[in-house]
Amino acid sequence: MAADTVKITINGLTYSFSMGDNFGQIPWNETLLDTLRNRLNLTAAKKACDEGACGCCTVIKDGDAVPSCMQLTADCDGSSITTLEGLADPVTGELSELQKKFIEYNAFQCGFCTPGIIMTTKALLDKNPNPTEEDIREALSGNYCRCISHYHVLEAVNALAGRPVDLDKKWEGRR
């Protein structure tokens, strides 16, 4: 039985949530995704399949990329969560290298799956700054993207892993 209060650190800020069924409280069966989106207005993580199959709601929980739709908020007591909103510098707004690379390589189309893809990538690179191409593909295999941004995402992540595609060469005469 968890305590009636659940403490979670989200993007560096610690929240104390009152658990229960009364108005304003967080029900024990509420998912982390719903808490992030509906209570904290952290809407970068998207609700899509809501069953852990698409990766659009991926956040980082204690270092691991997890689908936040499959985490109960109650079970996150004591955890540290990072969402896409937590990547840029909170004061200056300067984007992280990861975000900059996604822009540089145009690694998105509709952008709905992008928050999940970026967070999966961050968790991978935090653990292994030099992943192989296969490591990258495997890590991202749970992230669904129907626009097919995969090739540009792989270019961006490979660049972060030290294997940059030379964009000046790829787009020679067009830069």
Binding site: C49, C110, F112, Y144, C147, I148, Y151, H152
Partner: protein
């Protein structure tokens, strides 16, 4: 760019067009989570609408009791067919009430609840009691048209839906192409193939973001609609069929994938509209992923009995076909897709003088089928290409050479979706086909029909190549208009530019592409130009990004508006520069002239204080410049397991002037997604024959290609300067995957030496073709 006239539309002059030198306008928003999608948006006092759905494919509601549901705390209303005007009908022609006494598929709406929260709404659904009279159902279009088959609607005898969609076919319905003398044509043919071929598994394009709408009733028949449609204009039009005199102010956000699919959204919009009228509060109806998979529009089913004849030179001379199109239980302008399908077939077999291509649009007891990227063309091409391939095989022709001979080019005549004759203008794709084939290494890899490219020593693994081609005249479809406005800064001599146009961004980057065009015409920094938010009321007419129309239609209207603005500025500058307008050019937010070096007047000075200057531009519908996309595929088949692996893909075209090479590359790669290439391998909609329920009901059951299974993909784009609009470009993204399924089937057939014609070519299909099961 110095703007003296048409000579300036030259790639050497462009600073942004054709370049990869600026990020997409919404790039930073997308990578930070600031981009707003529908589900991130709330309206004060918004309720959540949910539907009770039918467990039967066809049934009549004998009784329905909603009293317990209504009593639940937090429920604001519960409605059934008894509460909904039965004259408000969805589809074309108006067919299906928003809630009816009869349900037409497993998942059809039986009742709707509006409640304070989603969980209350869902709880209320459990409290509704329904008694059904189960009726006979039919889920196969060929069965549905037979006498004695279960009838869905009294108005459609034998379930054949009335042909024609007036907004697309202003001269009357077009559903049957007759040209020349088809029987005589066959007499001239050396090679003829005849068979029934199906592309009828009707997979879901399954955009990551589900369809949905928030509707606020504003009194009378006025509604504000926030919807994740890819086209607010089309959404408005199709909803106006249901309530002809209503006003729908459709506003959109970034859309989380659509692929042509999330356009009309009539069920979501009308459900929310009616709940909003009943409650006098805004209502959000947003489908769950399971609802999206089981209740939203899928690809059309396509069953074709056809006969194709080719002469000894490899030119198609006669086509006779009966194309049965399965619309599921509701056709939302599917008649337009049939028109495009007929048109696209002619593009591929453009030298054929003899046609009898008849069609039937059929209603069945399945979830609605409708618009998906490929728009009827893919559905028909995936069938007819297999038969065209058989004639090539008989004549032992190289398919690349046959496609070159048969593909449309300048001077050919096409009957397009409007039933009118269009003479093809400016385009010729033979060089693009050659270039793509060369880059793929076709001549080395293609060893002949039914001959593998490579075989492993033990004979278990075989590789084969295939190719497919398709094109679409819709690149110039629908009238479009735009304003471009100069907004001088209040305190400095800098000006900003606002493009007023109705473009929803659903991934193609076209909102940024039009900025690039205007930046080059007005010689302004990309960062100083903004595009108005997509909204059908505040923006002039724009049908959105469909059918690859964005490049030509928006490009033409917006660039014309920018030119109008430029011309106005030149005229206003005459007293300051004291030269004729034709020697002026735009620079540094002002006008200068070569005739008097040093003379300059800022735009701000030309415009009355605090006001702005607006240019207007139009594009009028034109179907004379079809695009082309050719795809080459190499597959590896394991003859023991039947598993197929795609090894390599090349997509090739001539896009005219490329606007953004990076986005074009992604549009090409996108042909793998949206129920395109992989409909040849594993994407399908599986319906339980006993219960008629969808078994591929969620993302755990429906197969899609994961990140670690992507083949190599190369592109090959030529950049001819086609006579389309000022920038001489032609849109091509929509069709990038439309010929991929048939190309993959051809590659598989060549790899294993046996023809495979059943979509998708699952291991079971392959092993059956090899006589192993």
């Amino acid at each position: 760019m110095k703007n003296f006239g048409d000579q300036n539309y030259n790639p050497e002059q462009y600073k942004y067009v054709g370049k990869v030198n600026v990020p997409r306008k919404d790039a930073a928003e997308l990578v930070t989570g600031k981009a707003v999608f529908l589900d991130d948006f709330k309206v004060p006092r918004m309720l959540i609408g949910k539907m009770l759905r039918s467990p039967y494919a066809h049934a009549r509601i004998k009784s329905i009791d909603v009293e317990e549901a209504k009593k639940l705390n937090g429920v604001v209303t519960v409605i059934t067919y008894k509460d909904v005007d039965q004259n408000w009908k969805m589809g074309w022609p108006p067919t299906k009430p928003i809630l009816g006494e009869e349900v037409m598929y497993v998942g059809d709406a039986v009742a709707m609840v509006a409640a304070e929260t989603e969980s209350i709404a869902e709880e209320a659904l459990e409290l509704i009691k329904v008694e059904y009279e189960v009726l006979p159902a039919v889920v196969n279009a060929l069965e549905a048209v037979k006498d004695g088959a279960p009838q869905l609607y009294d108005m459609f005898k034998n379930n054949i839906i009335t042909p024609g969609y007036p907004p697309f076919q202003k001269d009357g319905p077009f559903w049957h192409l007759v040209k020349g003398d088809v029987e005589k044509g066959f007499e001239e043919c050396a090679y003829v193939a005849e068979d029934t071929v199906e592309f009828a598994k009707m997979p879901a394009p399954n955009a990551p973001e589900a369809p949905g709408a928030i509707v606020r009733w504003e009194g009378g028949k006025n509604f504000t609609v926030w919807c994740d449609t890819q086209s607010g204009h089309i959404c408005k039009t199709l909803n106006n069929i249901v309530m002809p005199d209503a006003s729908f102010d459709v506003r959109t956000f970034n859309v989380g994938g659509s692929y042509g699919n999330k356009q009309s959204q009539v069920v979501q919009v009308m459900s929310a509209a009616i709940l909003s009228m009943k409650t006098n509060r805004p209502v959000k109806v947003f489908q769950s992923k399971v609802e999206q998979m089981c209740c939203f529009e899928t690809r059309l089913g396509s069953q074709v009995h056809a006969r194709i004849g080719m002469d000894k030179e490899g030119v198609v001379k006669a086509v006779k076909a009966e194309w049965t199109v399965d619309a599921g239980c509701l056709s939302n302008a599917t008649q337009g897709q049939i028109g495009v399908g007929i048109g696209e077939t002619q593009i591929v077999m453009a030298k054929c003088p003899n046609w009898d291509l008849d069609t039937a649009l059929v209603a069945t007891n399945k979830q609605p089928a409708g618009i998906v990227r490929g728009y009827g063309g893919q559905e028909l091409n995936s069938c007819l290409s297999l038969l065209m391939g058989r004639t090539m095989r008989e004549g032992n022709f190289d398919p690349v050479e046959v496609y070159k001979k048969n593909y449309v080019c300048e001077g050919d005549m096409i009957t397009w979706r409007d039933g009118r004759q269009w003479k093809i203008h400016s385009v010729n794709y033979v060089n693009a086909i050659d270039a793509a084939a060369k880059k793929f290494g076709w001549k080395d890899k293609w060893k002949g029909w039914g001959v593998p490219t490579w075989e492993s020593e033990d004979g278990k693994l075989v590789r084969g190549v295939g190719c497919g081609i398709i094109g679409n005249c819709d690149v110039g479809e629908d009238n479009t208009e735009a304003y471009v406005r100069i907004v001088p800064d209040l305190f400095t001599d800098v000006s900003r530019v606002v493009i007023q146009t109705n473009i929803t961004e659903s991934g193609m980057g076209q909102r940024s592409n039009v900025v690039k065009m205007v930046a080059d015409v007005l010689n302004v920094d990309y960062d100083m130009i903004e595009v108005t938010p997509p909204d059908v009321k505040i923006n002039p007419t724009g049908f959105g990004l469909c059918g690859s129309r964005g490049t030509i239609t928006y490009g033409h209207a917006i660039v014309s508006a920018a030119e109008d603005l430029r011309d106005q500025l030149f005229k206003l500058a005459v007293p300051y520069l004291e030269v004729a307008a034709d020697s002026m050019y735009l620079t540094n937010y002002g006008v200068a002239t070569d005739a008097r070096p040093g003379r300059f007047v800022s735009w701000k000075k030309l415009i009355p204080p605090d006001l702005t200057l607006t240019g207007y531009g139009q594009h009028l519908e034109n179907f004379s410049t079809p695009n082309m996309f050719m795809i080459f595929v190499e597959v590896e088949v394991n003859k023991e397991t039947g598993q197929v692996k795609v090894l390599d893909i090349l997509g090739g075209s001539d896009a005219g002037q490329i606007i953004d090479p990076s986005m074009l590359e992604m549009q090409a790669q996108a042909g793998i997604g949206s129920a395109s290439l992989d409909t040849a391998l594993y994407e399908e909609h599986v319906i339980d024959p006993a219960t008629l329920r969808t078994l591929t009901y969620d993302m755990l059951e429906a197969k899609t290609r994961p990140f670690n299974d992507f083949p190599t993909y190369e592109t090959c784009f030529l950049e001819s300067q086609f006579d389309t609009f000022q920038f001489k470009a032609v849109g091509v993204g929509e069709i990038a995957g439309a010929a991929a399924a048939s190309a993959t089937m051809q590659a598989i057939s060549n790899a294993i030496g046996t023809q495979v014609s059943t979509y998708p070519a699952t291991p079971a299909v392959i092993l059956k073709a090899l006589n192993k099961i």
